[in-house]
């Protein structure tokens, strides 16, 4: 009897041990994420996809620190308009022209551009398959993606020159290594994408969607691409297509204080927001440039050369123009900066002069508007109409239309009440120099991807090519002595990228 029991018990146990090899036990569902199998099927998915593509403008990881401390400093610090705080490591060696290929800033810029490209590629591939949307809306969204892809390649080709041209979202981990394309091929793709985008993008969006890429933005960026390639007649034509469709803000400072975001002068902006109800889309700009005494971090200040140039920008009565006061905080009875108290007060320079470590500071973006907590949601301008007019003026001048060029320049100057330029005072070369080293830096100092890209294109170009070492030296960039012409005109291909993509060739000199 006992034996029987034992055997029974064993059988029972045995059945337990062996019955349960079922595969189901190891099949678990991901309850937190969607997969590609179910995505890209609704209109909402298309909107979410393009939103994510725009989000890469703020950095590949969505971090305000990546955006400012890595991407912004990388784009700005090499310029002759900037003096960086050398006790801060961000971009320090870039600014000093001593950086190696392992500098993090260029990598973050690179990664952010390609994040935008990768997402744009997904939208371009997938959205046409979403049949539940109207064809027009599908085309518009694909157009936006193409605009963003072109924008990112524009940054890449100007910053790094030799970059891989990736036009497909590759999912095979073994096929991710792509060699560099010729810069001309990248430029051609930029023009192609923008042309296709221009055809389908709307001229404007309803108020709730303002900030998305418009037809005008595509045209402006196309014009800029022509300008950078010195295709002067094409640039002139393209810019003229949007002349009159935008207008300058009557107050210069409204471009930087958040009061006319996506307004009449805005062609394309990187959007930020003080509204934190969904997620945190603020940036630290109002701290970065302020003096310590006004709660800032003084990461960078205007260069001596820029201030000298600014001070030449005067009214007929000799007083400084609006754009001088709107750009810099300096020793002048009328120079003021907002503090960060709640509510904020305007502080005259004289009130803090004794406590300042630097003689002058930037004033742009140093506004307490659209504050959410300590940070701000003020949009960062990428292309604004004043820039379009100055680019048009540059093209006109190269196309030997000096008088027309001066009209465009004066349109910009008059907004800031600057003394108007007189045609007779300038030769073509003088006007070119005026545009390059006065109008553009005084109007556009420290703005996104501005001055350094300008300098680099003039250093690369065939029209009145400038030796950058000479420019930087004459503009008293402190580190100009370290500048190597064949090397520092490009960022290094990031070492981190070369480490994982042996097909890449390092840029000359690094």
């Amino acid at each position: 009897m006992k034996k029987y029991i034992k055997i029974t018990a064993l059988l029972l146990l045995g059945s337990n041990i062996f019955h349960s090899c079922s595969k189901d036990y190891l099949e678990q569902d991901d309850k937190q994420n969607l997969t590609e199998n179910t995505f890209w099927t609704t209109r909402q998915h298309a909107l979410q996809g393009i939103t994510a593509t725009y989000a890469a403008l703020q950095g590949h990881d969505g971090s305000k620190w990546t955006f400012f401390e890595e991407m912004y400093t990388t784009l700005a610090y090499k310029g002759d308009d900037i003096k960086n705080n050398t006790n801060e490591p961000y971009g320090k060696s870039l600014a000093a022209f001593t950086n190696g290929a392992d500098e993090s800033g260029p990598w973050n810029l690179w990664a952010s551009c390609y994040a935008g490209i990768g997402r744009a590629n997904q939208v371009i591939e997938k959205v046409p398959g979403i049949k539940v949307m109207t064809e027009q809306e599908r085309n518009e969204i694909v157009g936006e993606a193409k605009f963003l892809r072109a924008y990112n390649y524009f940054i890449l080709v100007n910053g790094f020159e030799n970059v891989p041209l990736v036009l497909k979202f590759e999912k095979d981990i073994n096929k991710l290594q792509v060699p560099q394309a010729a810069a001309t091929a990248v430029w051609a793709q930029i023009e192609k994408d923008l042309m296709e985008a221009e055809q389908v993008l709307p001229s404007s969006y309803p108020a709730e969607y303002r900030g998305r890429a418009t037809k005008g933005a595509a045209k402006a960026l196309t014009g800029k691409a022509y300008l950078y390639q010195e295709k002067w007649p094409l640039a002139e034509t393209k810019f003229k297509e949007i002349v009159g469709q935008y207008s300058l803000n009557s107050n210069y400072i409204d471009n930087f204080n958040g009061l006319s975001e996506n307004g009449s002068e805005s062609v394309f902006e990187i959007q930020f927001s003080g509204d934190r109800s969904v997620s945190d889309e603020r940036h630290p700009f109002n701290f970065e440039i302020r003096p310590y005494v006004l709660d800032g971090w003084e990461l960078f200040t205007p260069s001596d050369w820029l201030v000298t140039e600014m001070k030449k920008d005067t009214l007929p009565n000799g007083k400084y123009s609006d754009r001088v006061y709107g750009s810099i905080f300096f020793n002048d009875p009328n120079s003021e900066m907002w503090d960060l108290n709640v509510p904020a007060n305007l502080v005259p320079y004289s009130a803090v002069a004794g406590s300042l470590q630097e003689p002058y500071y930037f004033n742009k973006y140093a506004y307490p508007n659209d504050r959410g907590g300590s940070y701000v949601g003020i949009n960062i301008s990428v292309i604004r109409y004043a820039d379009v007019l100055l680019m048009l003026a540059e093209a006109l001048n190269e196309n030997n239309k000096k008088a027309e060029a001066i009209d465009r320049i004066n349109e910009v100057r008059s907004r800031s009440k600057s003394k108007l330029l007189v045609d007779a005072s300038f030769t073509k070369d003088q006007l070119r120099n005026q545009i390059r080293h006065h109008e553009r830096p005084v109007e556009l100092s420290m703005e996104w991807a501005g001055r350094w890209f300008d300098l680099a294109r003039w250093g690369r170009g065939n029209t009145a090519k400038e030796t950058l070492k000479t420019v930087l030296t004459s503009h008293t960039k402190p580190s100009a002595g370290n500048y190597v012409e064949t090397k520092h005109i490009r960022y290094p291909i990031p070492l981190k990228e070369i480490n994982v993509n042996p097909l890449l060739k390092q840029n000359s000199g690094y």
Binding site: I17, N33, T35, F169, I173, Q271, G274, V500
Partner: protein, 1031 residues
């Protein structure tokens, strides 16, 4: 799944019922002799709690404190068995009815000791793998409530770093060094239940700890054993009357070490000099020494800590049931304001014998509650930044702490001093963790027939986490502004279930001994949680999320959550064979299936073989002073599956509250934010198990009548297909790095342990144990051909200090080489390359000279060189115990040799002009200074990552010193007290090190940044007084 579990339970109950039905009750005795006796050891000292029972019956008793017992013995069966732990069991046949005086001999051979191994036990003498048993007697003397801290220096090959001084934190435990770039943490197995941690355990409840170091021991845990296995068995009730133990200690903590900071006037001088050297304008606040406060922030931030621990347990056993109920309370007030931790433990271990002792049922219930005040130490790799403590160290002495006029009592700094008040911020923000851990196990062990037994274990671990933080509004300047009181909460629920079936078969025939184990187990882990919070509570008095409001666009109320499940299904077996107790052979195999891998690579098979030879039992072996000599060798493979779930799926990322994919649109200033979603990672359904193959050769020996015991192990392990985030070209647009089987690594080393026991018959006895271990690792393959991981950043995204690549050790320091200080401009001008270019044109006298190590004529990245790493070359522990009459004394030293530390904290303090070292900076008048010149602009980049900040962090530390006194028993007379010991001691009393930073033993869980000092909650030194009371 649910269904099958329910079925299983039913079947077990059925089996139990059947067995109990057929069990007959014992037959009654006839005539009884009443036997009285006293049990002593060979020195005539009474042995209490020795078990005395009638042979072949259930009749038994235990001895009292004087060793006496009395028992009724049937005349027709007059044999008794006397046993006690640590003594040889004695069997006596009785011939008449009289008083007995019984002496028990101590077990001489440690070989008979039992070692806990995976899913069972083994006699120590039979072990063929590298297993360390931790001497829990030594643990009892250490006044610590944390298992990891206790393991420090206690077993050869187990390297424990203090982690941080935060009482709420945990140390970093590594077995045989770093053997994976993924997760090198060991697996903990508590009473048969595999867990990722064991910090909820009260050390007072631990009976035994076994550390499985080589693959042959660990294979039985297969896929999670690559980091080694720590097996913990908790205490059960021992035979005899109920005992009550009460243990308690109290200790007073003060900071072990503290960096010396400049005061205001010194700092003013230093800053002025730094700016003067650059020709710049110094900040206005350094100009007037008589202005501003001169605050000692450390004094307000650090405090004396008090640690207390109370343990009470009741245990007992009868023949059919034993039990132990224990309660523990521990608390530590921390040495930083508003920090500290508390823990409460409850454990009930029971063992019930049924069916004529054929069935043992072992229910275990354990509950732990943690109450922690959180502190922001840095954890992990990457841009981990600096610890909160560095904010404190870098705060200007010019700032005031308190301001009676401020609504919260803390001062807002003058604007020119910048924002922040670290004391105010710490006090006005409460971050708390309240965690409940509940562990329920039931094991049933059934002897089937003839050496065959079956064991079933079901375990459930439920962890409920609750975190919250509530911050009051404060304004310490624009960068330290909290406009409204805020509150965030997070609640998580982890439910982990495991059930295991084991079949054991044990058989001896002739000279052959055979032991076979077969097992099947299933584990499931379900993790769900909710987080929510907002930045505007309508009143600071409300401490609930219901008080959140949205008043304006800056306010938000957000919610988040998680929900995932993973499963593991395993088959395993082990075979032990020995011949003549001289030749041993063991083989193990385990096959694991894990839901973490895609269908194609779900299963992994792990195996091991080992052999041992008891040379001392051979007839030809005639060395009388060698009692044991047993070489052994093993090889085996274990795995690692410690990755997050669903890496094989093509995910679309959508996370509403994360800025990552979201973007605002609209015409307003505070525009509406739209939620984005897109694929940002790669699906990789090729990922498979990471495997570690280990070869181990070792020897166990004992000499001089077992007074000296010795073991040595040499090992080589090769970890292949290590799973880690793989750097891929950013040009792919992928921003979430995929996990792949990226790398191979080799780990080599040895460890040795030696114990000497002096057990004289006189009043004085002592023992001394030394452990020593060494390991080095090397990367064999990393991703693509020239794959490189840079980490150990000492600045946000910049100044990486470590590098990991093929051919070098994991996380090797990769730094510029400095060569002293330029003493003159002539020296700088003379420092040229072949072409005659000055190598450091931006240098000034007083700046660091860097070497052009690759000789290419420029000083750039190519000149960085590999300079060691943060793992010790040697790790050792030395324990000394002595007793003289009623006194006992113990000493415990622990040390590490050959580990490097990058003193990032020092670099940080120099950069912010706070370190006292700066007073001795180079100036023309101080030409022999070792600290480079002061400069704010730092044109020479003295702050670049160089060996200037790399230090030797070797140390020897007197971890524990203790003197105890046990009161003689006669003092207690007829009271129920049978043991009373009091002790005093000191913990972390003395450290010998050249390291100049906070502590040479602080570390975090980062693998790629090990050895980078970013400032941690400092360690403390404590003085302890305690009591052990037994009733």
């Amino acid at each position: 799944m649910l269904k099958s579990k329910r079925m299983l339970k039913t079947k077990i109950l059925l089996v139990l019922a059947l067995f109990s039905f057929f069990t007959s009750s014992a037959s009654p005795f006839q005539t009884d002799w009443k036997i009285n006796g006293r049990v002593t050891d060979t020195e005539n000292k009474p042995i209490a709690n020795a078990s005395v029972y009638v042979k072949n019956s259930k009749q038994g008793t235990t001895t009292d404190a004087s060793g006496s017992f009395s028992i009724n013995v049937p005349e027709n069966n007059a044999a008794i068995v006397i046993s006690s732990t640590g003594y040889k069991t004695l069997e006596l046949t009785l011939h008449d009815n009289k008083s007995l005086s019984i002496q028990l001999e101590r077990k001489e051979a440690v070989l008979d000791e039992v070692v806990v191994v995976g899913y069972g036990t083994q006699k120590k003498g039979d072990v063929t793998s590298a297993i360390s048993s931790v001497n829990t007697k030594n643990l009892e003397k250490q006044p610590s409530a944390n298992l990891g801290t206790l393991l420090q220096g206690q077993a050869a090959g187990v390297i424990v770093s203090a982690g941080s001084g935060d009482p709420a934190g945990n140390p970093v435990v590594l077995i045989r060094g770093l053997n994976s770039i993924n997760n090198a943490n060991p697996l903990y197995v508590v009473d048969g239940i595999p867990l990722g941690y064991a910090y909820d355990i009260n050390p007072n409840d631990i009976e035994a700890i076994s550390i499985l170091k080589d693959a042959s021991a660990a294979t039985i845990y297969g896929s999670r054993a690559a980091g080694g296995v720590i097996i913990i068995t908790t205490k059960k009730g021992k035979s005899g009357e109920p005992h009550i133990n009460f243990n308690s200690y109290f200790s007073s903590h003060t900071l072990n070490n503290s960096i010396k900071l400049l005061d205001k006037v010194q700092m003013n001088k230093v800053v002025k000099e730094a700016f003067a050297n650059d020709g710049g304008t110094p900040p206005v606040y350094v100009l007037d020494d008589n202005q501003y406060a001169n605050t000692d922030w450390k004094n307000a931030y650090f405090k004396k800590g008090v640690e207390q621990k109370y343990d009470l347990d009741v245990s007992g056993a009868s023949e059919k049931i034993n039990y132990r109920l224990s309660l523990g309370h521990w608390e530590h007030s921390g040495t930083i304001i508003n920090s500290g931790a508390k823990r409460d433990n409850l454990r009930l271990n029971t063992e019930i014998k049924l069916l004529n002792n054929r069935l043992k049922v072992i229910p275990i219930l354990a509950y732990t509650r943690f109450n922690n005040k959180n502190f922001g130490d840095v954890t992990g790799d990457g841009n981990a930044g600096y610890s909160d403590i560095m904010n404190l160290y870098s705060t200007l002495p010019h700032k005031k702490i308190y301001d009676p006029a401020s609504p919260n009592g803390y001062a807002k700094p003058e604007t020119e001093l910048g924002s922040g008040n670290p004391v105010g911020e710490r006090m006005l923000s409460n971050s708390r963790t309240i965690d409940d851990h509940l562990q329920l196990n039931i094991a049933a062990d059934l002897k089937l027939w003839k050496g065959l037994s079956y064991n079933f274990t079901i375990g459930k671990t439920i962890i409920n986490n609750f975190d919250y933080s509530q911050t009051q509004a404060y304004d310490f300047g624009a960068q330290s502004l909290v406009e409204n009181p805020s509150r965030f909460e997070s609640r998580g629920r982890n439910e982990y279930s495991v059930y295991t079936h084991l079949l054991n078969y044990e058989k001896s025939f002739g000279d052959h001994n055979l032991k076979v184990l077969y097992g099947f187990s299933r584990e499931k882990s379900v993790s769900q949680g909710t987080s929510a919070g907002g930045n505007h509570l309508s009143s600071p008095l409300i401490e609930a999320l219901s008080g959140l409001i949205v008043d304006g666009t800056g306010d938000f109320i957000r919610a988040g959550g998680w929900n995932f499940t993973s499963t593991l299904q395993s088959f395993f077996g082990r075979l032990n064979y020995s011949f003549q107790d001289k030749y041993y052979l063991q083989g193990s195999i385990r096959r694991d299936g894990s839901s973490k891998f895609g269908p194609a690579n779900r299963y992994g098979t792990f195996y091991s073989v080992s052999a041992g030879w008891a040379v001392h039992k051979e007839k030809f072996f005639k060395v009388p002073w060698i009692n044991e000599l047993k070489p052994r060798v093993s090889y085996g493979i274990v795995g690692n599956q410690n990755i997050s779930n669903f890496q094989y799926l093509a995910k679309i990322y959508l996370n509403g509250a994360d800025a990552y994919l979201n973007y605002p649109f609209g015409s307003l200033q505070s525009q509406q934010v739209f939620v984005g979603a897109i694929a940002a990672s790669l699906a990789n359904d090729n990922i498979k198990w990471e495997q570690t193959g280990t070869f181990n050769a070792g020897v166990n020996a004992s000499f001089l009548k077992n007074k000296i015991s010795f073991s040595f192990d040499y090992f080589v392990s090769n970890t292949t297909d290590m799973l880690a985030e793989t750097p891929i070209p950013a040009s792919s647009g992928i921003t979430v790095l995929p996990l792949t089987n990226i790398a191979d690594m080799q780990n080599k080393g040895w460890e040795s342990s030696i114990t000497y026991r002096h057990d004289s018959k006189k009043d004085f006895s002592f023992d001394i144990t030394a452990n020593l271990s060494h390991s080095v690792n090397k990367i064999i393959r990393l991703g693509y051909d020239e794959g490189v991981v840079a980490d150990g950043y000492v600045d946000y995204n910049n100044r990486a200090t470590t590098i990991t690549k093929k051919g070098i050790a994991l996380a090797s320091f990769y730094l510029y080489q400095s060569a002293g200080i330029f003493k003159s401009q002539a020296e700088i001008d003379a420092y040229k390359n072949k072409n005659g270019d000055v190598l450091q044109p931006n240098a000034h006298p007083g700046d660091l000279k860097f070497l052009d190590t690759n000789g290419d004529g420029v000083i750039d990245d190519g000149d960085k060189v590999i300079m060691g790493n943060g793992l010790p070359k040697l790790d050792f522990g030395l324990t000394f115990n002595a007793s003289y009459k009623s006194f006992d004394f113990s000493l415990f030293f622990n040390g590490k040799q050959g580990q490097k530390m990058y003193n990032g904290a020092q670099m940080f303090l120099n950069r912010f002009y706070r370190s006292e070292n700066l007073l001795n900076s180079w100036t023309p008048a101080n030409p022999d200074a070792t600290m480079y010149r002061l400069s704010n602009a730092d044109p020479n980049e003295n702050l670049r990552v160089s060996d200037f900040y790399l230090e030797d962090a070797s140390f020897i530390r007197l971890r524990n010193i203790q003197l105890g006194y046990s009161f003689p028993k006669k003092l207690f007379g007829n009271t129920s007290i049978n043991r009373l010991r009091i002790y005093i001691g000191a913990y972390n009393l003395l450290t010998i090190t050249k390291y100049t930073g906070l502590d040479p033993d602080l570390s975090n869980n980062g693998i790629f940044s090990r050895g980078v000092d970013r400032g941690y909650y400092p360690l403390s030194r404590s003085f302890v007084a305690g009591i052990n009371l037994g009733l």
